[in-house]
Symmetry: C2
Subunit: 453 residues, 2 copies
């Protein structure tokens, strides 16, 4: 019931596992404590049918996710491209329209969306992801919500609706819950707005892992061996300048010289710290709720929409899914057809609370409207809901509300005594993505390695 190590890592999500790996590579002993009965955190591959891997959590990497690309290479996991060919189906004005028809009907509206994205990029240019509170307009931009700012951009209803859908696609909360500065932090952390907020999230979602994303945490954990302990929710962290004592539910006590807390901020805030953490840190973690996302996979015998010239993507105002894509296996695998429907933000909350039959009926009807009657009859629907999962409590990630960045942002990554902070929310690049989880884990590991070696 007692373990010793140099560095205790709380959380065996990607960020924690990476931190532990780096610590070990530096000649120090890590010990990873995981609350759940599995590793991976927000990465969770489910083999719904033999050889059919559904990513209930993190699914893609983008073209510039070099840390993830290198990691996959090291671990011997191969990539395949996201299927993108064909037209998207739109439902923004009551009708269902295919890409070309939609764009010729609403070209001017979409130009409005483009204009706003360019404005966001100009604004983001003055924001640093490491110190958003230092941006010249930080004080102004952290006091207006994204929704409020969008409303003031002179957009047509169709353009405003499109922008809401695409933004909720990354924030996974209504745009009135996040400040404009908060959105700009996301934009600058990920490059340019078009990579993040355009219909296809082009830059962020281009490739997947053959065999499933879960292989990554599983292989990382395998290399750590008995240094990863499952079913050990951390209740308390006692800390002194060069000493930590971490107590788990069930009685395990882990002692070390440093601790890396690799949990989403709201979960990190639930641990009892002794001595207690400074007020600024505590107020921050009270203000970074996990977002609301639910993925629903509709599985068919084949991806019949491809032959029909459709890419499996929908953009829909009525929902319940506001976006979707083709989440099939590699093209030459002859696998089934899979449409992944995203319920994000309000949709996840409202339709997520419906009885499953009601939600899936609505989803089938929606898929039928977009991809034809065959789409209304999937063989199987598999849902991945994260709010109910005790050790995650929401996806994809967390953004503070208004004034959160300017008043409390500095506490997000600043170490406190022997405590360092990881998790994708603390990343400067690609925060919210696997790439960010790796970056944050590496940065936290550097902090502890520098003082311990």
């Amino acid at each position: 019931m007692s373990r010793e190590a140099d560095v205790i890592v709380v959380g065996a999500g990607l960020s924690g596992l990476i931190a532990a790996r780096e610590v070990l590579a530096a000649g120090l002993e890590p010990l990873v404590l995981e609350a759940d009965e599995r590793v991976g955190g927000r990465i969770l591959t489910e083999e719904a049918l033999p050889g059919v891997h559904l990513e209930l959590g993190a699914q893609w990497i983008g073209d510039t996710h070099h840390r993830m690309e290198a990691l996959a290479g090291e671990l011997g996991i191969e990539l395949y491209p996201q299927f993108e060919e064909g037209e998207t189906s739109y439902e923004l004005d009551g009708r269902v329209l295919r890409g070309e028809a939609f764009h010729s009907a609403y070209g001017e509206d979409m130009a409005g969306v483009e204009r706003v994205l360019r404005t966001l990029d100009r604004m983001a240019a003055e924001v640093s992801a490491e110190q958003p509170w230092a941006a010249p307009h930080a004080d102004e931009w952290d006091r207006i919500t994204v929704g409020q700012w969008y409303d003031a951009q002179g957009l047509s209803p169709i353009a405003r609706s499109m922008l809401e859908i695409c933004t909720v696609g990354i924030l996974a909360v209504p745009t009135v819950e996040v400040s404009l500065l908060g959105l700009l932090v996301n934009v600058v952390s990920c490059g340019v707005s078009a990579d993040l907020l355009s219909e296809s999230e082009g830059g962020a979602q281009t490739r997947r892992f053959i065999g499933g994303t879960s292989q990554i945490p599983l292989r990382l954990a395998a290399a750590l061996g008995e240094r990863v302990v499952l079913r050990s929710p951390v209740l308390q962290i006692e800390h002194a300048p060069d000493q930590v004592t971490v107590t788990c539910r069930g009685g395990l006590v882990a002692r070390g010289r440093r601790v890396v807390v690799a949990l989403a901020p709201t979960l990190a805030g639930r641990i009892m710290y002794d001595p207690p953490l400074p007020g600024q840190r505590d107020q921050l973690t009270q203000r970074m709720p996990q977002a609301s996302a639910l993925k629903a996979f509709a599985i068919y015998d084949e991806p019949f929409w491809r032959a029909d010239g459709l890419n499996g993507q929908l953009i829909s105002a009525p929902g319940p899914a506001r976006m979707s894509n083709d989440s099939g296996m590699p093209e030459d695998s002859g696998g089934p057809g899979i449409i992944l429907a995203f319920l994000e933000g309000e949709s996840a909350r409202v339709a997520g609370a419906w009885p499953q039959a009601q939600r899936q009926d609505a989803l089938r009807a929606e898929l039928g409207r977009h991809f034809g009657p065959r789409a209304a009859q999937p063989d199987l629907i598999v849902e991945g809901a994260w709010v109910e999962r005790q050790w995650t409590r929401g996806c994809y990630n967390a953004n503070p509300g208004p004034c959160g960045w300017i008043h409390f942002g500095q506490a997000l990554t600043a170490p406190i005594g022997p405590i360092s902070w990881a998790a994708t929310e603390t990343a400067a690049a690609w925060s919210g993505y696997m790439e960010g989880a790796v970056e944050a884990g590496q940065r936290a590991a550097r902090e502890v390695i520098e003082v311990l070696t």
Copy 2:
């Protein structure tokens, strides 16, 4: 290390103590577990000098706080009126102006404030404090922030500033952090806007307790005797339909048939529940941060401002205190003069983070501007900061951000199995005040008594 009772109460703040008292009165055995080494929660009287009671926390009751009035009567605690005579000092346009001069210069601006308060009262008339999400305009009003709505009311800069100061005086966060619906819940919970948002908070702050507010929790706890256990932070609540097992740091395990969690929502959310709570409840407690307030008492040999025709109240845009009042002892006691300076919302965060000497220098200078050179030389300044207190983590209370009420509000008071929820945040009347703490404690007690007797 093991105790049994019918009802375990978590938290010996006012709400928890009232719940325990009601449970005991109904012939059932309560057991109160308190994390801190004292009872009272956000009630904390400090005897700064012999006979001089400073209320670092809850200080007043209002004219319609009948539950508190009755409680004080039962406990044999006498009341005395808040000193109100004289003029308020204003600093909204760079100058310091006394009441009459200010109102004759800015009568039109203040009429604008009054107009907005009347509008709020009209809107509040359609909101129920028990079910704010059911209000006809709930969906619209929960998606705009109070600050955004104020900005759209065509107010002069002076009027807008006044409204911000008075509103932050109750919310203790910038008005852009709370939705309009959230403000209306506060208004309807407390009667009319003028009782809450006017300069003097007339209705809510009319009387104080001779000898200090802390007498109330102390006497309630004394009557409960060994049924109150201090220094027992709750780590975990295991629950089944008619059974709860509550585990504290230090090893105490308390078993009962029901549990009343009488903690602010954000603190209730830190406990590990087994089985885990529904996602809606968890997402709610991720979204109800404790606000930011700091009280600073400046103590003088006598209340010299009274002879000068001033009531000890200031309204100041530059701050650091945006409001103040005369917090002296009863008029005939011959006690010292005490100005209570409120640092709330942004002031609490910004000036609260300054070194104490810098903050108190700024405060002395401000008091001097308003109440004369003598006010710049207090004998003593005593501060009550709540964000740093581990078992409170912010004052005065908590409000959810945008969409919080419409998407998660129903989880605030709804019992979950054998778990009931108390604390002033869960009250329908005078939420945020001691009156609300009592109401909520009584309501939670009723829930458990009904099923257990």
